[in-house]
Subunit: 329 residues, 2 copies
């Protein structure tokens, strides 16, 4: 929105856009953008440009402007374990029949070890250490993981032992259980052994980790925990590799200076723990460099009830884009 | 119902009941009978009798009449693990913040070892081996666990290694996860770290296992898996010790003969994997012997959709009670 408004403002003042611009509106980002990649591929000749600008990112924690130079990828998977042909009474069958919740729980419990590392074979293939430049820039940010966590009622970073808080969220891969359901979990109690149990899990990916190889390793791990009497089904939910920008491109220097003019502070080069698969699509399918600049705040509660967008971010964000477009044209 | 109908039939033929009978109707058995025990205690003098007859049990697998001589007890517990003050985006917080589903899963995974034994300290205190008489009677039943399981699409008894199928369901304690929920498990996918996760678990108990001691051991085990950033809440759901009848009481011999007259086959002495807490209440609060005779079938689908009651069980069940009342008066 800030980028669109900047174009509108520029045109109302100058009567024309600052450069040859193609605007693409993507409404399926939260569901894995199934249609954008085919569209880019089908229209590559028309769409190819010197740079893709994406405004779906955030500022640095304390309101400092930021350019996002790397995004984690994502591998999402749903796991369904089935046992008996119907729910069973735990008095009649308990202790004798397979319980799919227990099978699922056993499969999911051991995926991370006591140091926070994922034990799936090959999981860390392609995971790269930070460059010296970015490590120094990130250290300068003075990120306080405990303070960051305190905003949501927590205090202890529980990621991989020996990693900084920013590495944990920006430059290290994860395994998380995003949802689990089985049997009866409502008010009261039902003494059932359910017929099935399911979980949704996802890995955030970095470097050149291969989502499909990790999906296969996860499936193999789960299958090894499923007894003969149970079946397991897998349903893929999204798959995108991580995305790293080349910060030596002069466009990054120009945009950094433009942001400094608007906000009075140097823009940080930051990572992003989330995924914007389309950034990688522009790189891979159109061979374009990508620059991600956005003005979201840490307290925007994204993907939570009462999500908001900051009004200052909107106004100064529009002005920022006008400055960046002027610097890049 | 069969017992009530037998009394009604007897009265319509003879004009009176076969003996001094007090009929008690209990509608809260599935929710732990919170009011029956106080009622029995408050009215003990009026209610005390030579024997309590309970008709809420089943026949032996192949339609053979049966007297249930032992019931497992129950300890039910709900576990709620909470982490952040709201659901978190797994991109922003994944790898850094505690995930309550993972905490819960880790706590529940190790409660049974690879041989099917529960590892909670003191769990097997009070668990008793079968008497020689019952072991011989149970062996004569020729129970085929794989055939039993095949009726619900399964085949492998997965209980404690080295135990027979009937021991697993009648004479060994269990730990089962009856329900689990956390995060988003509906259609599609949400990349959240949820604020909370919950599970309902229960143990079937045998011998003189103490439900409260086992509840305390379970809570201690779960607490040991909860990191400093999470909280855990426990909610009890039912608590009753196992119940064993004295089969040397002459009433058992008389009832066995009466059942044989009606069904043409000797009644089996069987156990029951489920719990009927009121049986223990009659024993403990009124000092009465209890005899459980019922006519439920294995395919009744109790506690499942499409539960039914067999018509032959109803008709011959009523006649059986008339014979038993005649034999006992």
């Amino acid at each position: 929105m800030t980028l669109v408004e900047a174009c509108r403002a520029w045109k109302s003042v100058h009567g024309t856009l600052p450069a040859g611009l193609t605007l693409i509106f993507e409404g399926e980002e939260e569901s894995g953008s199934p249609n954008l990649a085919p569209f880019l591929r089908d229209n590559a000749d028309e769409l190819r440009a010197s740079l893709a600008l994406i405004c779906d990112t955030g500022m640095y924690a304390d309101g400092r402007p930021a350019i996002t130079t790397q995004l984690r990828g994502l591998m999402g998977e749903e796991i369904v374990v089935r046992a008996a042909s119907r729910d069973l009474h735990s008095g009649n069958f308990g202790g004798l029949a397979a319980n799919p919740i227990q099978v699922l729980v056993n499969a999911l419990a051991g995926i991370k070890d006591d140091t926070g590392r994922v034990i799936l074979p090959g999981f860390y293939d392609g995971v790269e250490e930070l460059s010296n430049q970015l490590r120094a820039e990130w250290e300068d940010l003075g990120f306080d993981a405990s303070e960051f966590l305190s905003r949501v009622g927590l205090k202890d970073p529980i990621g991989e032992r020996g990693r900084s808080g920013l590495e944990m969220v920006w430059n290290r891969p994860t395994f998380e259980i995003n949802g689990i359901a089985g049997g009866y979990a409502g008010d009261g109690f039902k003494t059932v052994l359910p017929a099935e149990a399911r979980a949704k899990v996802s890995c955030r990916l970095v470097g050149t980790q291969d989502p499909q190889a990790i999906r296969a390793a996860l499936q193999a791990h789960v299958r090894a925990h499923v007894p003969a009497d149970c079946t397991v089904e897998f349903h893929p939910h999204g798959s995108s590799p991580a995305c790293h920008m080349d910060v030596s491109d002069p466009a990054f220097t120009a945009a950094r200076a433009a942001l400094c003019e608007e906000w009075g502070r140097e823009a940080a080069f930051i990572g992003m723990g989330g995924s914007i698969p389309v950034a990688g699509d522009f790189q891979r399918l159109l061979g374009m460099d990508v620059m991600l600049i956005g003005f979201g705040r840490d307290d925007d509660r994204i993907h939570s009830p009462n999500e908001k967008y900051n009004v200052e971010s909107f106004a100064k964000g529009v002005r920022s884009w006008a400055r960046i477009l002027a610097a890049l044209r």
